[in-house]
Each structure stands twice: as C-alpha cells, then as structure tokens.
C-alpha cells in the first residue's frame, strides 16, 4: 500500500466516523423522544459498540483485556442510570458484583499475559 492509498483510506475512515457519530447524535437528541435518562442509556450502549469493536479487531491481546476491563466500568454507570429510572436500589447490587468480577478477571488475564500461572 503506497502513500497515496494510505491517505485516501484515512480520509474514508474520518468521513465514516463523523457520519456515524453525527447521525446517531441527531437521531438520539432530535428524533427519539423519551426521558433524558433513556437518551443517556442510548449513548452508553453506543460506547459499548465501540468497545466491542476493540474486543473483536484488537491487534494484540492486551487491547482486548483493556476493552473488557472498561466494559465493566461502564456497566456500573449503566446500572446507576437504570436504578434512577425505575427508582429501585437492587440495580446497584448488580453493578457492584459486575465490577468485582471484572476486576478479578482483568487481574487474572494480566497474570496469564505476563506468563505466570494462576497459583504463583
């Protein structure tokens, strides 16, 4: 791939990104009519789509580990928003347990990536 093709591919990527994010934000804030919490939850799901892109196409294993770790952090915010909508407090229990499992899993993944065994 020579230099000219590389620049053309970069321009195509920027156009796709701007069009995708702009269309989503336009639909979310001007077309879709609901409470503000539902719009914020839509933005969180859009973020999770990006994270799943990094999980699937990540070049190295460390990228996938980072993406899964951040997915657990976003899930706490999502459960807090859900709890604010339904005015129930058990959603935060789900978020806390999800974050705990995500923390232990990312530590275990880091240990395996470094080349040590789990009972080291």
């Amino acid at each position: 791939m020579n230099n000219n093709q590389k620049i053309r591919w970069r321009v195509v990527r920027w156009v796709i990104g701007f069009l995708g994010i702009g269309l989503f934000m336009y639909w979310n804030f001007f077309v879709y009519s609901a409470l503000i919490y539902y719009k914020l939850i839509n933005i969180m799901f859009f973020c999770m789509l990006f994270i799943l892109f990094r999980v699937v196409f990540g070049p190295t294993p460390a990228d996938r580990i980072i993406a899964v770790d951040i997915l657990g952090v976003l899930m706490i915010g999502l459960t807090a928003l859900l709890g604010l909508i339904y005015n129930q407090s058990f959603f935060m229990d789900i978020g806390l347990i999800w974050a705990l499992m995500s923390f232990i899993a990312s530590l275990a993944y880091a240990k395996i990536l470094e080349g040590r065994s789990l009972d080291d």
Binding site: I36, L40, I43, M44, F46, C47, F50, I51, F53, R54, T60, A62, D63, I65, I66, A67, D69, I70, V73, L74, I76, G77, A80, L81, G83, L84, N87, Q88, S89, M92, D93, G95, L96, A99, L100, F103, S106, L107, Y109, A110, K111, L113, E114, G115
Partner: protein
Amino acid sequence: MIREIVGMVLILIGVTFDFLGVLGLVRLPDVYNRLQASTKCVTFGSAGILLGAFVLQGFTNFGFKVLLGIVFIFLTSPVAAHAIARASHRSGIKLSDESVADLYQQDHELKEE
C-alpha cells in the same frame, strides 16, 4: 430544585467523559495510549454518573450503595490498569512508532547492569 440541576449536570459530564474515553480507546495507536485514555472513563466518567445519582437520591438505601460503588471503583481500577500495563510491557508488546522514550525499559537495563 437546585439539587436536581446539580445532579443532572454531574450525570451529563459523566456520560460525556465516558464517550470521549471510549473514542480514545478506538482512535489512539498504541496499547499504552489506549490504556491512558480509557482510564479517564473511571475517574470522571462512571464516578461522575454515580456522584450525580447520589446527589439526586440523597441519604437513602440507593445513595449509600452508590457511595460504596464510588469507593470500590476508585480502589480497584488503578490496580487493574497498572497490572495490565506491566504485564503487556513484560510480555514484549512494542510501543508505537511515534513514541519518543521508553523509561521503563531504560530502568530495567540499568538495573541489570
């Protein structure tokens, strides 16, 4: 009234920081740069959303669980990020071509001498 406005502003700031952090996770060229961008999701993103929920709810059952969540993610997330960065550097993942210095590698070489 003021409490609702402050809570909604905190939640909006939190969602904005989450979105920018995830954009950095997709766009940046390197494992370490991606890690540095995506830990911004924690300190003002999800913690901002939880703080806004605490301001909206007050000292109720929900509010105490939210405070527990803030303390929990502030304790655990830097530990996980540090462990991932150390493991990925030790397993031999290269830095990107534009990066200037690798101080961890230099310290390691000095220690071996």
